[in-house]
Amino acid sequence: MTRARRWGAGLALTWLLLLLAVALTVPYLPLAFSPDTVDLTNIAMPPQVSQFSHPGHLLGTDPYGRDVLTALLYGTRTALLVSLPAALLAALAGISSGSSAGFWGNSGLRVKTGWLVAAGAAVLFTLAALPCYWGSYRMLYLLAIPTGFFMVGGILLQVKRLSAPVPIPLDSLLQACITLVSSIPRLVLVLALAAVVEPSLPTLVLVLALSSWVGTARLVRAEVARVRQLPYLEAARAAGIPELRLLVRHVLPNALRPVKTSFPLSIAGLIGLETTLSFLGVGLPPEVPSWGRTLALVRLTPTAWWLVVFPVLLILLTTLALQQLASRPRG
């Protein structure tokens, strides 16, 4: 690693840690204004120097008289609260689905037909019964379902034709799910879903995760399918290691390398997507401060450069830092 690269990586890490620290401690920071203070005497003011006697708006105010610095600091918290859980959820979903599809393919995983039928019946039954009994003591009835599953499965296995194992087409299933999510451009899908559900933080995280697991799944699937062919796996299989352990302990550690690169980039993408949604006025309730919300206000006051420069600087630096983290050569 050259000296310049090491400097870059150090700077990037420092910046990200700073953001994290701000996000964690922002309610306790000695800020002059609270995020919902409306200062009607100072509407859309450019940045001013703070005096000792009375606090000024260091980064100016927006057209509603809210302090931009405070909004941005609280916005950091929102950006991390949305993008980190969404990225983690998406990575988890992508890794588990992609690795199982890559490892077992369309024919590797075989399940006895009896169990399959029983599981299908159990899922259907749960889906039909759960909303009926939701929130009442009758939900306890649902405890009977697992027992029923084992009983029905056991009985079905006695029939000769149902005891033969059938392959589960995991790979085709994954491909179908991927086509489903990517049949519409991501921004429009998220826009439509975010408009449909109630605007709140958890739903936004779910919507974002739902739209962004696809990339990780593709990467992991390809990598697992490559690693699966390697000779050391044949050796491990010959040693009699069970399939699931083979996947988790022997294949995954080698197959997760591309995810380490794509994960910071996916966080950057999600921060971009979240700010875009807030900019368009969809996704988060309007009282939640976010970088995109501050940026959107420039449409009310086109000459207020401070409403653009500071949030854009934040987004730019964060994106650059995450990109730097992703491109760091692994030693």
Binding site: A128, P131, C132, Y133, S136, R138, A176, T179, L180, S183, I184, P185, R186, L187, V188, L189, L191, A192, L193, A194, A195, V196, V197, E198, L265, A268, G269, G272, L273, T275, T276, F279, L280, G281, V282, G292, L295, V298, R299, P302, T303, W305, V308, V309, V312, I315, L316, T319, L320, Q323
Partner: protein
């Protein structure tokens, strides 16, 4: 048309349909009350706040077909005993989903919740404004990517690559706002108009009209091109580098051809194929990009219609927009398939 294309179409149509149905069901099921035009209700509500208003609302819901059950089977609470567990109930074809599908099959997208205009006319009108922007951006971005990938000196390539990969990761609206702030701002450089499409005087000569139109189009177009070119150029570059590492490229060099000739005459043709796959995604991505660009530059069009429909929860417009996008993607696939056959004779059906 190849079997490859048909497989794609066969997969894409039902999946797009599924997504559309899902959004429809969610919009009707979760969004407790769509924001119906409430002028009438408010006017009456002044005199009698409760009973008449409720009656008006009921009438509105009936007019938009929102009082029917949502789907073929729904969970219904028993009328006789509201405390009893809810039950699944079969409604037959008298439900919102069925009538929506029937409407769609007749090409009727319903009426906008916001201004009660027919959705078809809203979308067609906005498409007229959006198509020049997206098609222009697609052509420009492709040309630019080709120029960057093929004709740059090797000396510049490293610097170019890092600039491109930075641009690649910036959100579109950041680029748009920066351009707006730098080039359409009286405080910095007021080279371009900031808003709208420009009012074109009807008595002006055609080239004056075109000039005004292009003048107003320039910044939005530049945004889309700036954001989409890097991805394309990087992809083409990667494909070209791969092809130049192949044995036939080395042979061509050994024969005494210059590097640029090998690149342009030998490697490019093969690098086209992976590049085309990216091109298929370009047009839908550009239409999605107009959501941001048209909002920032306040141009009427498809993207702004979608963004405003999403913000105002105008579901008929939103659903029709999503359907239109799925169609555009389908069209892009068909176009790419044709280009594939043009680029690679092996893919042409035997005549």
């Amino acid at each position: 048309m190849g079997i490859y294309l048909w497989r794609r179409v066969v997969v894409l149509v039902p999946t797009a349909w599924l997504v559309l149905s899902l959004i429809f069901l969610l919009s009707r099921g979760l969004g407790a009350a769509p924001p119906l035009p409430s002028l009438e209700a408010d006017a009456i509500g002044l005199t009698d706040p409760t009973s008449q208003r409720r009656a008006t609302e009921q009438r509105m819901r009936h007019r938009y077909g929102l009082d029917a059950p949502l789907f073929y089977i729904t969970l219904e609470r028993s009328y006789l005993n509201p405390n009893a567990a809810r039950r699944w109930q079969w409604h037959g074809t008298a439900n919102q989903y069925h009538s929506w599908v029937k409407q769609l099959s007749r090409g009727d997208f319903g009426f906008s919740y916001r201004d009660s205009k027919p959705v078809t006319s809203v979308l067609l009108d906005s498409l007229r404004h959006t198509l020049p922007l997206t098609v222009g951006a697609a052509v420009l971005a492709t040309t630019l990517a080709l120029a960057l990938g093929v004709f740059t000196r090797p000396r510049w390539q490293a610097a170019l690559r890092s600039i491109l990969s930075l641009l690649d990761i910036l959100p579109l609206f950041v680029v748009a706002l920066l351009l707006l702030l730098l080039l359409a701002n009286p405080d910095v450089l007021a080279w371009f108009p900031a808003y709208g499409e420009g009012r074109i005087a009807t008595e002006a000569v055609w080239w004056q009209q075109l000039g005004t139109y292009l003048y107003y189009l320039a910044l939005p177009l530049a945004c889309l091109v700036l954001v989409t070119t890097p991805g394309l150029a990087l992809q083409l570059d990667a494909a070209l580098q791969h092809e130049l590492g192949q044995a036939y490229a080395t042979t061509a060099r050994a024969k005494g051809l210059s590097t640029s000739r090998v690149q342009q005459k030998h490697a490019l043709r093969n690098a086209w194929l992976p590049f085309l796959t990216v091109l298929a995604e370009l047009l839908p991505a550009l239409v999605a990009g107009t959501v941001v660009v048209e909002t920032v530059f306040a141009r009427p069009g498809m993207g702004r219609a979608l963004a405003e429909a999403a913000a105002a929860r105008d579901f008929p417009v939103l659903l029709a927009g999503v359907l239109l996008l799925a169609t555009i993607r389908l069209a892009a696939y068909i176009l790419t398939d044709w280009l594939y056959q043009l680029a690679d004779p092996r893919l042409r059906p035997a005549s």
